[in-house]
C-alpha cells in the first residue's frame, strides 16, 4: 500500500434533509495510525458525517474512498464488513449476554451446530488481553462497569472491522481514571495502524489524544489542522464561529435593583446537590453553567420537586412555599422544561395541541376539562407566537423537528403563565435557526417580567442572555459571575479552576437586595 495514500478519504460529502442542508461539501481525510478528532457544536454536522461514513445515512453527494477504493456502505453492518467500526456513547452491547457472547455473537465457533463455549471464551480472552483487560468473559456483560463495557465494545469493533474505528463521545460517562484507561487502549490501537475518529466535547481530552483536528460548523468544514499547531482559544473560536476576544457584551444591569421573586435557603439534597442559597429576581435570567453531570440538572430537579429537597426551605414573594412535588411547584407558578425532551418532555403520540395544554390541564385538575374552543385558542396563540411549524395543532408531536418540539414544550409552560420558568438545555439538538429563535424568546420572556433559570452547555448562549451565571461543579455551586464578569473565558476558568478558589468568592453579591 502506498504510504501516502490516506486510509479513508471523503470528498465533497453532501447530505440534505427536508429544509436543512446538514452537510455541505465536507471533505474529511483519515490516515492510518492517527487519532483524528471531529469537533463542532451541537448541530454542526458531526454525527451526520459519521452516519454517512457508516452507512446509517445515504449521502446525497460526494465520494468515500477506503484504501483508495470507492465505498457506499448500505448500513452499519455493511460498513463493519468493509472495515469501519463504530462505538457509541451508549454502549451498544447486550447486558444480558456474557462478555464472550457479546464479542462473538454471529461468529461463535461451532462444532456440529453447537457453540463451543470454551473455545469462544478462550478466543475472547485472547482478544481482550491485547487491551490489558483480564476479566472473566463468562460473566454477564452487565456485571462490569461502563468503562470496561466501552473497551469491550471497542475490542469488538476493531476485531470485526480492523481499519477505521469511530468513537462517538466514548468518554461522556467515564471518570478521569477510566478515561486514561480508554486512552491507553486508543494508543495501542494507533500502533496497530488503525485510523481512529474521535468525537468528544471535552477539549482537554481532544488535545491529549488526537493528532489531527477537524472542525465542522453548520454543516461546513471549517478547518483541518494538526493538533500541535493550534491553541485552545483558536480551536474554540473555530467551533463557535466568533472571536472570543471580541466579547464586549458587558451587562449594564449591575445597578438594577430587582425585587426578589423566589428565594431558596440552604436548599439541597443529600446525594444530588450540596445545599445552596439562590435568590432570583423578577425578570432576571440566571444561567447555570457546568459540565455534564456536575449538578446542574440536579439543581433544577430539586427546585421543581422532581427529587424533593431534603434540606432548606423556599420562599416565593416572601412567603414560605412547599416544593415537595412537581404538582406543588406548578401550583406555585413554576414551570420546568426538562433536559431530555424525548423521554421527559413530549408525549410523542399525542398531538401538538394535547402536548401544549397538558400542564395547564394538570393545573386545573382533571375534573375541570379545558373546553375545546379554549384549547384551540391557546394553541393558535402559541403556534403563532413561537412560530411552531407545521402549524397544524392536531399533528402528532413526534412528526415535528427537534426545535419545534422544544417550542411546543415551551408553549406548554407558557400557557400556564408561570412566574418562574426553569429551562434545562433548551437548545440541545435543534438546528441553528430554531436555536436563535429560542434565545430571542428567552430574552423576550425576561423583558416581560418572567424569571428564568436556564441551564446550558453552550456557554456563548448563556453569556448572551444571562444576568447572572452560577457555575456548578461536583454537585456544588462553586462560583457566581455577575455583569461584566460574564464571559465565556471566566466561565471556563471557573469550571476548570483548581479547588484553591478562595471560598470567599462564593459570597452572594450584587443583585440580591
Amino acid at each position: 500500500m502506498n504510504m501516502d495514500q490516506p486510509l479513508l478519504k471523503a470528498t465533497k460529502i453532501d447530505k440534505i434533509f427536508p429544509g436543512v442542508v446538514a452537510l455541505d461539501k465536507v471533505d474529511f481525510t483519515l490516515k492510518a495510525g492517527e487519532v483524528h478528532a471531529l469537533l463542532g457544536e451541537n448541530g454542526a454536522g458531526k454525527s451526520t458525517l459519521i452516519k454517512c461514513l457508516t452507512g446509517a445515512y445515504h449521502r446525497d453527494g460526494g465520494d468515500i474512498l477506503l484504501n483508495g477504493e470507492t465505498i457506499s456502505p448500505r448500513d452499519t453492518l455493511d460498513a463493519q464488513g468493509l472495515g469501519i467500526g463504530t462505538v457509541y456513547q451508549e454502549v451498544n452491547l447486550l447486558g444480558n449476554l456474557t462478555v464472550a457472547e457479546n464479542m462473538m455473537i454471529g461468529r461463535q465457533p461451532k462444532k456440529w451446530g453447537m457453540v463451543q463455549t470454551k473455545q469462544m471464551n478462550r478466543q475472547t480472552k485472547e482478544i481482550l488481553n491485547q487491551y490489558g483487560l483480564d476479566i472473566d468473559v463468562a460473566q454477564l456483560l452487565s456485571t462490569y462497569s461502563v468503562a470496561i463495557q466501552q473497551i469491550i465494545a471497542i475490542a469488538r469493533a476493531v476485531d470485526l472491522s480492523g481499519k477505521v474505528l469511530i468513537l462517538d463521545e466514548p468518554t461522556a460517562s467515564l471518570d478521569a481514571k477510566e478515561v486514561q484507561m480508554l486512552f491507553g487502549v486508543i494508543r495501542k490501537l494507533k500502533q496497530k495502524n488503525i485510523g481512529i475518529i474521535f468525537i468528544s466535547h471535552f477539549l482537554d481530552q481532544v488535545f491529549e489524544i488526537s493528532d489531527t483536528i477537524t472542525v465542522l460548523r453548520n454543516g461546513r468544514l471549517i478547518e483541518s489542522v494538526t493538533t500541535v499547531d493550534i491553541s485552545s482559544i483558536d480551536l474554540v473560536t473555530m467551533m463557535l464561529g466568533y472571536e472570543l476576544g471580541e466579547e464586549t457584551k458587558l451587562k449594564e444591569h449591575d445597578g438594577v435593583e430587582r425585587e426578589t421573586l423566589v428565594e431558596f435557603c440552604n436548599f439541597g439534597h443529600k446525594q444530588l446537590i450540596e445545599p445552596f442559597y439562590l435568590a432570583i429576581g423578577k425578570g432576571e435570567v440566571v444561567g447555570f453553567a457546568g459540565l455534564l453531570g456536575s449538578g446542574r440538572t440536579e439543581t433544577a430537579e430539586t427546585l421543581f420537586g422532581v427529587t424533593p429537597h431534603d434540606s432548606g426551605s423556599a420562599t416565593f414573594k416572601n412567603e414560605n412555599i412547599n416544593l415537595s412535588s412537581p404538582r406543588a411547584a406548578i401550583a406555585n407558578g413554576f414551570g420546568f422544561c426538562p433536559e431530555d425532551r424525548k423521554t421527559d418532555g413530549i408525549i410523542a403520540d399525542l398531538s401538538v395541541r394535547e402536548n401544549i395544554i397538558l400542564a395547564l390541564q394538570a393545573q386545573r385538575g382533571w375534573a375541570n376539562p379545558l373546553p375545546k374552543s379554549e384549547q384551540d385558542e391557546i394553541c393558535k396563540k402559541y403556534i403563532k407566537a413561537l412560530d411552531i411549524r407545521p402549524t397544524d395543532a392536531e399533528k402528532p408531536i413526534r412528526l415535528l423537528s427537534g426545535g419545534n418540539q422544544q417550542k411546543v414544550i415551551l408553549a406548554r409552560w407558557l400557557a400556564t403563565n408561570p412566574e418562574f420558568l426553569i429551562l434545562d438545555e433548551p437548545t440541545r439538538g435543534i438546528d441553528v435557526g430554531a436555536h436563535a429563535e429560542i434565545i430571542r424568546l428567552i430574552e423576550n420572556l425576561c423583558e416581560d417580567g418572567m424569571s428564568l433559570l436556564v441551564i446550558s452547555s453552550e456557554l456563548d448562549e448563556l453569556v448572551a442572555y444571562s444576568h447572572r451565571i452560577i457555575v456548578v461543579r461536583d454537585h456544588e455551586h462553586i462560583a457566581e459571575l455577575v455583569g461584566s464578569e460574564i464571559t465565556t473565558n471566566n466561565i471556563v476558568e471557573a469550571i476548570a479552576a483548581d479547588l484553591n478558589v478562595d471560598n470567599g468568592q462564593y459570597e452572594l453579591k450584587g443583585v440580591i437586595s
Binding site: L94, L97, N102, G106, M114, T143
Partner: protein, 321 residues
C-alpha cells in the same frame, strides 16, 4: 455475585424439593415411581407447550395462541382420522407443518409490521380456536389401533411406575430445547432479542429470521402438545385446552425466566411445570381440597417469583453503584 444469574433457577429447584419433601412427609406414597411417571404423563402437553413459550418469553415476546392451537390440533387430527384413511403419523406430520407455519406467520407479522406480539398472538388465538370450531363443534373420539399401540407402550420403572410415550416425548423436547437455547447460535440470538432488538440489529443478529423462527418453534411445539393431548385424551374437542397458554406462562415464570425477556432457562420451565403438577397431585392425594387450590398456590408462587426478580434486579443495580 455471578450466581445471581442462576438464583431464580436455584430457587425454583429448592421450592420443588421442599414441596416434594412436604408431600412425602404427609403422604409417604407420593415418593414412588408411579407418582413420578404420572407427573410426567399428566403434564406432558403443558410441558411441551411451555418449552415453546420459554423461547418466546426469552426473546421478550409472548404467545397467547398456544391453547387454541392445541385444541385445533386435536380436532384436526380426530376429524382427519375419522374422515380419511391416512395413517396417524402422516396426520401428525401434516398438523405439525401447519402449526409451525401458523406460528411463523405470526412471527413474520410481529417483525415486519412491528406489531406487539401480544396483539398478534391474541388474533392467532381467536383464529385457531375459531377454525377448530368450524371443523367440528362436537368432541370427536379417536379410535385407531396406532393410538392404542402408542398409549399402551411404556417403559416400566422399578416400583411399577410408567414412563409413557408422551411423558418421554416431553423429556426429549426439554432436552432438545435446552441444547437449542443454550448451545446454538440461534439460542444466543433469542437471548439477544430479549436484551434489546435495536441493539441486536446493530450487532448483526438476524432479527427477522430469529423472530420468525421463535414463533414457528412455539407453533410447532403447540402442535406437538396438541398431538400429545390428543393421545392423552383420545379425542379432539374445540373447547379443550382453554387457558393453557397462561399455565405455560406461569410455568416459565416460576421456572425463573424474566418476563421482560433476555434471561431464563429451559430447564427451569421443566421444574416449573413439575411444581404445578405436584400441587395438583397433592390435592388428589388429599382428596378433600378443591382443585381450585392449585390456582391459588400457583398465584402465590407467581407473586413470590415476581417479587424475587424485582429484588434481584434492585440488588444487581445497587451492587454496580
Amino acid at each position: 455475585m455471578m450466581k445471581s444469574r442462576y438464583l431464580p433457577l436455584i430457587a425454583t429447584c429448592l421450592i420443588f424439593v421442599l414441596a416434594y419433601a412436604l408431600c412425602y412427609w404427609q403422604f409417604p406414597n407420593m415418593l414412588s415411581t408411579r407418582v413420578v411417571g404420572n407427573l410426567l404423563t399428566d403434564n406432558a402437553f403443558l410441558g411441551i407447550a411451555a418449552v415453546g413459550m420459554t423461547f418466546v418469553i426469552l426473546s421478550g415476546g409472548i404467545d397467547l395462541s398456544i391453547g387454541s392451537v392445541i385444541a385445533f390440533t386435536g380436532v384436526f387430527i380426530a376429524v382427519v382420522l375419522k374422515e380419511t384413511s391416512l395413517h396417524p403419523l402422516v396426520v401428525f406430520g401434516l398438523v405439525l407443518v401447519i402449526t409451525a407455519i401458523f406460528g411463523g406467520i405470526m412471527g413474520a407479522i410481529i417483525h415486519y409490521l412491528e406489531m406487539p406480539p401480544f396483539v398478534v398472538t391474541l388474533a392467532g388465538m381467536f383464529l385457531a380456536r375459531g377454525i377448530a370450531f368450524v371443523i367440528s363443534t362436537d368432541s370427536v373420539p379417536v379410535k385407531h389401533e396406532f393410538y392404542t399401540f402408542l398409549q399402551d407402550s411404556f417403559y416400566r420403572l422399578p416400583g411399577g411406575g410408567r414412563i409413557t410415550v408422551i411423558g418421554a416425548a416431553m423429556l426429549v423436547v426439554f432436552f432438545v430445547g435446552i441444547i437449542i437455547a443454550h448451545r446454538t447460535r440461534f439460542g444466543t440470538n433469542v437471548f439477544a432479542l430479549g436484551g434489546g432488538i435495536p441493539t441486536s440489529k446493530l450487532m448483526g443478529v438476524p432479527v427477522a429470521k430469529t423472530t420468525i423462527g421463535i414463533y414457528a418453534i412455539s407453533g410447532f411445539l403447540a402442535g406437538l402438545a396438541g398431538i400429545t393431548f390428543s393421545l392423552y385424551t383420545s379425542a379432539g374437542y374445540s373447547l379443550a385446552a382453554v387457558g393453557v397458554e397462561l399455565d405455560a406462562i406461569a410455568a416459565v415464570v416460576i421456572g425463573g425466566a424474566l418476563l421482560t425477556g433476555g434471561s431464563g432457562f429451559i430447564a427451569g420451565t421443566l421444574i416449573g411445570v413439575l411444581i404445578m403438577g405436584l400441587i395438583q397431585t397433592y390435592i388428589i392425594f388429599d382428596g378433600t381440597l378443591s382443585s381450585w387450590w392449585t390456582k391459588i398456590v400457583i398465584g402465590i408462587l407467581l407473586f413470590a417469583f415476581i417479587l424475587m426478580q424485582k429484588g434481584l434486579l434492585l440488588a444487581a443495580s445497587a451492587q454496580k453503584k
